[in-house]
Amino acid sequence: MEQIDILTLIYASIDETNRQLPVDGRLEKSPDTLLLGDGSQLDSLSLITFVVAFEEALEQTHGARYNLLDEGFLGNPEGPLKSVRTLATFVEQMRG
């Protein structure tokens, strides 16, 4: 799976999450968008919504499941969930 495919899935998940966010708090569909930690616009419920949407999209399209809701990911602002770019890179690496 190429990173561009992964980005497409991430952006679809951003679209879904944005529908519950106020207009001025919506996520930009960009690799630089921060998802977790300082500078992120997502609170915990929105982050979980995003992660669940992305996990489902990944599983449906590629049969892959990563437990991104694990505390090791959700609690690590420098981990894969830091930004769109780090998430895409993580999934790409996991897919080899």
Binding site: S44, I48, T49
Partner: protein, 556 residues
């Protein structure tokens, strides 16, 4: 204007609902606050926080009815114990929400993906589905006495295919449903809110060829159109007519705007044996070769409605586009190309919700047909005075009571053109207001030789230290322009005099649509004393119009 507080209360994490609601135009006037998670009974047991105008209460059956939670784990429970818990819960809900503008409560669903007892699940005394149905019915019956509480069918929000559970969201965030479920719920609540605010659509305007029947009547003649018979498309058109006719029983009117020869089209409507909708089912029509948007505007004006009351249905995308751009207030739904999908497209529209169904709703079309006949009689009569005499209008008035409150609330919240102050109030608020000393509120019913127009108006007066005030002067458009307005002013003056007032003061509060009220005031016997203020000295008699008989309604 500061937003009113809308409380969201649930035994699960209902935060997502608040977020979708915040992005919904229907909820723009409300700020959602979420009650502490899982504290349904604690919240319901104390009065709501000050300023709470409304509530959404969405619970799971196992979360609030402990007997059902046990039943769901296949413990043997007594159904009567379960129902007693439902009664207790309903009583708490009723007490908690009393005085709110509205409360939206959801029906209970089986826990997601729970198969219950399988094929025994609807067996009395065993099945969970059977028990839950009884619980929902009991909840509905207990709450039906509360005019401000509306029970929503949550099953409608579950996504097609039945996959509505969100197991990962549940374990991670205590959210039991997928996002679409909350989006559907917000749409449904929004439709309910628009109904309460009197913003539902009242008129469906349809095209004829390939909308009400198949083919072009001008080319085939009425006997050649596809309608009913042994023809799958003909059956689809006939079912669409049936669905439209059903709407009229909820108070929605039908009208026609079609590019056709009127004689030919009317021949089809009158003579085709499979037509379900006949001439008397339509409040009006424009069948000619003129621009549809202009036809629509003149027809709506003739029916004394606003364009924001209208849904326009046409199979032709170009005509839809024309009406959409010329009349942005008209709802023009995208329409399926396949006539077999017409019924479902109509039934899916959520703009016809109502906060109550009254006798007037069920007979509205016949009232408008009578109005068309009245207009015909007027055209045949030389003077307006003669016409009014010939109408033999009879006005009956009675203090507003709980018996007619559904219709009175409808008039308060739906009437725009002849409405002095456009006070929007719920049924509870109306009854509370009318029950105070120094106030009187009359329901006005009108009939004439063509038929009964039903409860058509409201007069509300109040005497304070500053004198007598006419606060509400509301009249349905169907009774306008025949001196009922003058009769109502007479009634208000007489009542204020009886309450001890020496003057009747009238303050007109302008809105975008109540200009006709100002015209009525200007033409009345009231004396203008400010830009939008009028008064009448009650030492003088405010004579009733001679063309109308006025009498108190017989007690029901």
């Amino acid at each position: 204007m500061s937003a009113e507080k809308l409380l969201l209360l649930s035994d699960f994490n209902i935060g997502l609902l608040g977020r979708y609601a915040a992005n919904s135009e229907a909820f723009a006037a409300y700020a959602c606050t979420v009650a502490p998670y899982g504290q349904v009974f604690q919240t319901l047991s104390v009065p709501p926080a000050e300023g709470t105008a409304a509530a959404v209460i969405w619970t799971t059956p196992g979360g609030v009815i402990s007997s059902f939670a046990k039943a769901a784990e296949f413990e043997s429970v007594n159904a009567e114990d379960c129902l007693a818990e439902v009664d207790h819960f309903a009583d708490l809900l009723a007490d908690f929400t009393r005085g709110m503008r509205f409360a939206f409560v959801t029906s209970w669903l089986m826990p997601p993906v729970h198969r219950g007892y399988g094929m025994l699940d609807w067996r009395a005394g065993i099945g969970l589905s059977h028990l839950l149905a009884r619980m929902n019915l009991r909840l509905a019956e207990r709450l039906s006495a509360e005019s401000n509480v509306y029970l929503f069918d949550a099953a409608r929000w579950m996504t097609a295919g039945g996959v509505h559970a969100a197991a990962r969201m549940w374990y991670a965030a205590k959210v039991p449903y997928r996002n679409e479920v909350f989006e559907n719920a917000v749409r449904d609540f929004g439709a309910g809110l628009r109904a309460i605010q009197g913003e539902s659509r009242k008129l469906v305007v349809v095209d004829l060829d390939n909308t009400l029947w198949g083919d072009i009547v001008g080319e085939t003649g009425w006997s050649g159109i596809r309608l009913g018979g042994i023809d799958y498309l003909g059956e689809a058109f006939r079912d669409f007519q049936r669905a439209l006719r059903s709407l009229t029983r909820k108070g929605i009117q039908l009208a026609i705007v079609s590019k056709n020869d009127e004689t030919v089209a009317m021949q089809a409507i009158d003579e085709h044996p499979e037509m379900l909708l006949r001439r008397t089912d339509f409040s009006g029509w424009r069948i000619n070769w003129n621009d549809k948007a202009e036809n629509l505007q003149s027809l709506v004006a003739e029916l004394n409605l606003g364009l924001s009351s209208v849904v326009f249905i046409d199979d032709n995308p170009a005509e839809r586009d024309r009406v959409r751009s010329a009349c942005p207030d008209v709802l023009v739904p995208e329409w399926p190309a396949d006539p077999c999908a017409y019924v479902s497209a109509l039934l899916a529209l959520d703009c016809f919700e109502s906060a109550g169904v009254t006798v007037e709703d069920r007979t509205r079309t016949s009232m408008y047909v009578a109005e068309r006949e009245r207009r015909g009689a007027r055209q045949e009569t030389a003077s307006v005075g003669d016409w009014l005499q010939r109408l033999q209008t009879r006005l009956r008035y009675a203090p507003v009571t709980k018996d007619q409150i559904a219709r009175v609330a409808q008039l308060y919240n739906k009437t725009n053109q002849l409405n002095l102050s456009t006070r929007r109030m719920t049924a509870t608020e109306i009854l509370n207001w009318a029950g105070c000393p120094g106030r009187a509120m009359f329901a006005i019913s009108v009939e004439d030789r063509f038929g009964d127009l039903g409860l058509s108006g409201i007069v509300a007066v109040e005497v304070t230290d500053e004198g007598g005030q006419l606060l509400d002067f509301i009249l349905s458009c169907r009774a306008m322009g025949r001196k009922v307005e003058e009769a109502m002013l007479h009634l208000a003056a007489e009542e204020l005099r009886r309450l001890g007032a020496r003057t009747m003061q009238v303050a007109y509060i302008p809105t975008e649509r109540n200009r006709p009220t100002l015209d009525v005031l200007a033409a009345s016997k009231l004396v203008k004393c400010g830009r939008h203020e009028y008064r009448f000295e009650l030492s003088n008699a405010y004579d009733a119009p001679i063309e109308i008989s006025i009498e108190p309604a017989e007690p029901r």
